[in-house]
């Protein structure tokens, strides 16, 4: 069974899944690290990203190179309304945020059902072509997904490391009071962090919608995956999100292909449960006092 074609497929799957999981987890961990908010509604923003892409590509028939950035940025911009209406009541209130944003999750999910009903939709594929490298078959649309995701991750890295806004965010994540006394505008930093986090989630959702079907319930799995990745890597840790995403994506691809989806789920959950018991702050996180 271990021929090049299958392995190639598993690898490509692994990379695309990992990339998407990292995108979702990054946004999630940003919101936690900077605003101490556990965004139980994170998956819903992924869902919105998928619907945005669907609408632009299917109904308006835009090319994906336009539809993707416009759709994703549009979702992030529109979500700033939710930041003002909902999120800002929960900053630095972790427990309240968990349950309150759960409420938002329900509102968004069933609001979507109300607007768009439950049936599944398919986003037109970005490319029907296929790349052949010897025995290995790579669908081009998967390749595009990987390239876009990696580009976004690179962009994010540059942003967080080399811009003032990124520095402000890192400062706020480490020590809010000190950051404020150093002149960091908390409110503005939060808004930027929120925008970036939702942007990543919407992008992840749009790419997810390329691979899987789109429905109002699309957000459930990405949310679960975000949790697992962030626990694996360490809550609030950006390198942790990257590590966790890779681990989860490849595990799922490998175990899922050879042993089935259920086995993959049991394994992932089992490992995370074990980790929570012995090392709850994750592989790259730091123990809180």
């Amino acid at each position: 069974m271990l021929n090049a074609t299958i392995l190639g497929q598993v690898f490509v799957n692994g990379v695309s899944l990992s990339a998407i999981y990292i995108l979702v987890a990054l946004g999630f961990t940003l919101l936690f690290g900077i605003m101490r908010v556990v965004n139980f509604a994170h998956g819903e923003f992924a869902m919105l990203g998928a619907f945005a892409l669907f609408y632009l590509m299917k109904t308006l028939e835009w090319h994906w190179a336009f539809a993707l950035p416009v759709g994703v940025i549009g979702v992030a911009a529109a979500s700033l309304v939710l930041e003002w209406l909902v999120f800002r009541w929960f900053y630095q209130r972790m427990f309240e945020s968990m349950i309150g944003l759960l409420g938002l999750n329900m509102m968004m999910m069933f609001g979507a059902v109300q607007l768009w009903d439950v049936h599944e939709r398919n986003i037109p594929t970005m490319s029907g072509d296929v790349l052949m490298m010897g025995d290995i078959i790579i669908p081009v649309d998967r390749l595009i997904v990987v390239i876009i995701a990696l580009t976004a991750l690179a962009g994010f890295y540059l942003f967080i490391r080399h811009t003032r806004a990124g520095l402000a965010m890192r400062a706020a994540a480490q020590d809010l009071e000190t950051a404020e006394t150093q002149g960091v505008d908390t409110r503005r930093t939060y808004k930027i962090a929120f925008f970036v986090a939702i942007l990543l989630a919407a992008l992840a959702g749009a790419l997810w919608g390329q691979i899987y079907a789109v429905s109002p319930f699309l957000g459930e799995r990405p949310l679960l995956m975000a949790f697992i990745v962030v626990i694996l890597g360490g809550m609030g840790s950006i390198p942790g999100a990257a590590l966790g995403g890779v681990l989860l994506g490849f595990t799922e691809s490998f175990v899922g292909t050879f042993y089935g989806a259920a086995a993959s789920a049991f394994l992932s959950f089992g490992v995370v449960i074990l980790l929570l018991i012995v090392r709850p702050w994750g592989i790259l996180g730091t123990p809180e006092n």
């Binding site: 009541w89 968990m98 349950i99 329900m106 069933f110 109300q114 449960i273 929570l276 018991i277 709850p280």
Partner: protein, 315 residues
């Protein structure tokens, strides 16, 4: 108890026992049964919340009780009381094993691990089709006793268990054990240095609460005549948490109020499932954002406005 409390208790008793005879509507009786059963689940979860831990796998323990009881009765032909005991013991046993491990985790980690564990249990139920009937569940579950034919009859049956279950929770919370639990929640280190064996007490509460959940699972399964994995999912556990949150997490009365609220509201909005969920979501958000103490806190604040007290004194 004061005379006023005796009168209230009397009226409540008469109301609880008498109302099913004021109507022949089987559906209303059904809602009554649901409120009784759900109140045991919500109140037992409340016990766990009072130790400072929010569990998102409480319905998984209902599942242990339900499947344990149903399988004992249908596969092994045991009488229902034995099935009830087996289901309850199974739930209590699992709680006793995992309790000492997971109760050492704080806040968000405990929420996450219980959520994941609940999902693992649900997936395990779905995978083991031979024993559990998989995702289809088990149908035609017999009632606990042959005389329990009508919803009204089941209501009194469920009421008896509810009085026991909720009463036990109330007794625990008002006892010296309850005082220690409050101390643990408000200042764990402080309590430990006053001699409170923190982990041991948390485990005791966890085991009792999960046992009550198991008991409820059995009662519910034999009432609905069906058990299936979806009734014991993380989402359903969440509903129990929501009941506690909306009613008010600081008192048992909050759990009861939340139960009545969450069980009856869908009935008022029947046919508008989406709107129900959206409304619940909105209430959840608004409660946590503006009134984290829930309905109970709202009542307290209204009372405080009506009779002002001297600053510094406890009201």
């Amino acid at each position: 108890m004061s005379a006023r409390k005796w009168i209230i208790a009397l009226i409540a008793t008469v109301a609880l026992l008498g109302w099913p005879w004021l109507t022949e509507d089987k559906f209303l009786h059904h809602v009554g049964v649901l409120i009784c059963l759900t109140s045991i689940a919500a109140c037992s979860l409340h016990l766990i919340i009072r130790t400072g831990h929010v569990s998102l796998c409480h319905t998984a323990f209902m599942g242990f009780g339900a499947y344990g009881s149903v399988i004992s009765v249908m596969q092994f032909g045991l009488p229902w009381p034995v099935g009830l005991l087996i289901g309850t013991a199974l739930a209590a046993g699992v709680a006793a094993i995992i309790g000492p491990i997971v109760l050492r985790l704080t806040g968000k980690y405990f929420v996450l691990i219980t959520f994941l564990m609940g999902e693992v249990v649900r997936m395990a139920i779905i995978e083991n089709t031979a024993i559990t009937g998989g995702s289809n569940g088990i149908f035609n579950v017999p009632p606990p006793f042959p005389f329990l034919t009508s919803n009204r009859a089941y209501y009194y049956f469920a009421l008896a268990f509810a009085v026991f279950g909720v009463g036990l929770c109330a007794r625990i919370l008002t006892s010296e054990f309850g005082r220690a639990i409050n101390a643990i929640r408000e200042g764990e280190r402080l309590a430990e240095c006053s001699g409170v064996p923190v982990i041991r007490f948390k485990v005791i509460v966890f085991v009792i609460a999960c046992a009550l959940a198991g008991m409820t699972g059995s009662l519910q399964g034999h009432y609905i005549k069906f058990v299936g994995p979806d009734a014991y999912s993380g989402f359903q556990s969440l509903n129990l948490v929501v009941m506690n949150v909306i009613g008010g997490m600081t008192s048992l009365a909050g759990a009861l109020i939340g139960t009545v609220f969450m069980v009856t509201l869908p009935e008022l909005l029947r046919g508008y499932v989406n709107l129900q969920q959206i409304m619940f979501g909105a209430i959840l958000f608004a409660t946590m954002a503006f009134l984290p103490g829930g309905i109970i806190e709202a009542i307290r604040r209204i009372r405080a406005l009506l009779k002002p007290s001297k600053p510094g004194l406890a009201t």
